[in-house]
């Protein structure tokens, strides 16, 4: 057995346990900083471990776990993403005096679940990875346990999440019933041998699976939990939901459909087509009336999920690598926007958009970076969002999905309104003029995100090459 393929996962898991037990036995004065730095050390060590393990094509656990280019891309991506989220959380978790060890432990476990998801090559593995991703996030959402809104958010997320998991599992059991196998490659070959006629059971299975993952990626009409949960959760956790958890869902969707069900491409792309259309339009339209920055970003996340689903619905080779570029762009601009929101929320005690008033003058750095992130989320050049949308839309037009691209362009124009509403608040509204103190670590994360947001647009070749290598 190739246990060394799982070296990064093993490192992350050991560090998560270490963080938990260090927090029990070591009472120091700055628990958030020490535990956070320990988590980051584990994540960086796990990234370093990729040098040691063989690159491609190897499997472990009887083919349940595969280390291909795709999984390499996403495992490294998730590790980096988790490191950024931990860096952000260090400053903001200080106010929670208790249970800090548990916070970082659960955060690392979420990262572990996402990593396993990107290497999963078996229905069981996909389901376990999804649960490993979901269960800690239910707890994390309710982490501010004295705050009733946090409790409400956690309960909503939990109840709907369990429902979605059950549906997913039901869909998977139907696929198992049809093929008698849980291995993704095996399923694909069994379906190919059976001649490719889709019965009602397979249709039900596909819809159930899309419903299960649709919850995780907050695609309309499975998005109802997302705005309430994003608003109620501590913002350090909201970042996690909007990036790690959401992309984890997309990765599972990709694995299952592209590897196990390529023969039924014309069926599931149609279902995803509907999801993409609804997500883009509903996400953008409802976001227009939002006054809360976290809710706004939740609806913006739904809309971006719609743009990503375009690529899934087209399902050509080009759309597959361009969606990876989109993920890269999405991560940096979303983490950046949430980081600014966190800094402002802590200083002004509110996550309403009106709390951003006059930020451009009282704190030019935050004002400029937030403007960059908002422009990037709209998809304007010269920022990352433009490159992401450009490649996805281009591949979609070439793949014959002109209608979706037209809808996407119209909703992008609509999204200009609500993203610019934030920018207007920063520059054209007089605030109380009070400076917003930026903690050092958050400053570093915001700066990094802003740099990458620009860099992806200025030098896209580097990032597209990585994405291409991951897919082929």
């Amino acid at each position: 057995m190739n246990l060394n393929l799982l070296l990064p996962e093993i490192i992350v898991f050991s560090f998560s346990l270490m963080v938990l037990f260090v927090s029990l036995f070591w009472n120091n004065r700055k628990p958030s900083l020490t535990l956070g730095l320990m988590s980051i050390a584990g994540l960086l060590l796990a990234i370093g471990a990729f040098v040691v393990i063989p690159r491609v094509g190897a499997t472990a656990f009887g083919g349940m776990f595969v280390a291909d280019g795709f999984s390499l891309f996403f495992r490294v991506l998730f590790l980096n993403l988790a490191a950024m989220i931990v860096l952000l959380a260090i400053d903001f978790m200080r106010e929670f005096q208790r249970h800090l060890g548990e916070f970082y432990f659960l955060l690392l476990i979420v990262a572990l679940g996402a990593m396993l998801m990107s290497s999963a090559n078996d229905l069981i593995m996909i389901f376990l990875a999804l649960e490993l991703l979901s269960l800690p996030s239910y707890i994390l959402v309710g982490f501010a346990k004295r705050d009733p809104r946090s409790n409400e958010a956690a309960l909503k997320y939990f109840l709907l999440g369990v429902l979605a998991s059950a549906m997913l599992l039901y869909g998977m059991s139907l696929i198992f019933g049809l093929t008698g196998s849980t291995g993704l490659v095996d399923i694909a070959s069994k379906f190919e041998a059976s001649g490719g006629s889709a019965g009602p059971a397979l249709l039900v299975a596909i819809i159930m699976i899309i419903a299960g993952f649709g919850f995780k990626i907050a695609a309309v009409p499975f998005h109802f939990w997302s705005p309430d949960t994003y608003e109620g959760a501590p913002t350090s956790v909201t970042v996690l939901l909007a990036t790690l958890s959401m992309i984890g869902g997309f990765v599972g969707l990709y694995r299952l459909f592209f590897i196990a069900l390529p023969d039924y491409l014309d069926i599931w792309t149609k279902v995803i087509f509907i999801l993409a259309f609804l997500s883009m339009t509903m996400g953008s339209l409802i976001a227009m009336s939002q006054d809360n920055l976290k809710r706004l970003l939740a609806y913006s996340g739904i809309a971006h999920g719609g743009y990503i689903l375009i690529a899934f619905s087209v399902a050509t080779f080009d759309s597959q690598w361009s969606v990876l570029v989109y993920f890269l762009a999405y991560i940096f601009m979303t983490v950046g926007a949430f980081a600014v929101a966190m800094v402002v929320e802590r200083a002004r005690g509110s996550s309403e958009i009106s709390a951003l008033g006059g930020l451009g003058y009282s704190n030019p750095f935050l004002g400029v970076t937030m403007t960059i992130f908002m422009m990037s989320l709209v998809g304007l050049p010269p920022f990352a969002g433009f490159i992401g949308k450009l490649y996805v839309f281009k591949s979609a037009v070439e793949g014959g999905a002109l209608f979706l691209v037209l809808v996407a362009i119209v909703t992008s124009v609509i999204s200009l309104y609500f993203y610019l509403k934030v920018v207007r608040q920063i520059y054209f509204v007089k605030g109380d003029g009070e400076a917003v103190p930026t903690p050092n670590l958050s400053f570093a994360v915001i700066a990094l995100c802003a740099i990458y947001t620009i860099l992806i647009c200025l030098y896209p070749v580097f990032f597209t090459r990585i994405a291409l290598a991951a897919i082929s």
Binding site: L24, G177, L178, S194
Partner: protein, 122 residues
């Protein structure tokens, strides 16, 4: 293939139908045969005659749930430790190392609960 798939469930359907028919039949027979003598004592909560106190809709302290979780640790420990102890001689060194690894996995859970002060009833 799909037809095969659903045919497998015919047995299940037969089981469900048999169960439903059997249940209603037995209940019906019971009603037919059993003597009925309703006296007030028969309708109290406990058959031993104890009179219940307070509301049945009372809250349990959340600590009981934690005890239930801890109980799982101890129970799993016992379930594996006891057969191992009985066969200690024949299992030898391999069994000893295996049980050490098993406890290395189980024990941190207990350690965590202990350090978190769960074992103390304040």
């Amino acid at each position: 293939m799909v037809a095969d798939y659903f045919n497998n469930y015919i047995t299940l359907l037969a089981f469900i139908l048999t169960g439903m028919v059997f249940l209603s039949l037995v209940l019906f027979l019971c009603r037919l045969v059993a003597p009925r003598n309703p006296i007030p004592d028969k309708f109290t909560t406990y058959e031993c005659g104890m009179i219940p106190m307070g509301m049945y809709w009372s809250h349990f302290h959340v600590r009981y749930y934690i005890f239930a979780l801890l109980f799982v640790i101890f129970k799993i420990g016992t379930v594996f430790l006891y057969p191992w102890a009985v066969l200690f001689r024949s299992l030898g060194l391999f069994g000893f190392v295996a049980i050490i690894i098993f406890w290395a996995i189980l024990f941190p859970g207990l350690l965590y609960a202990w350090k978190k002060g769960v074992l103390k009833w304040v």
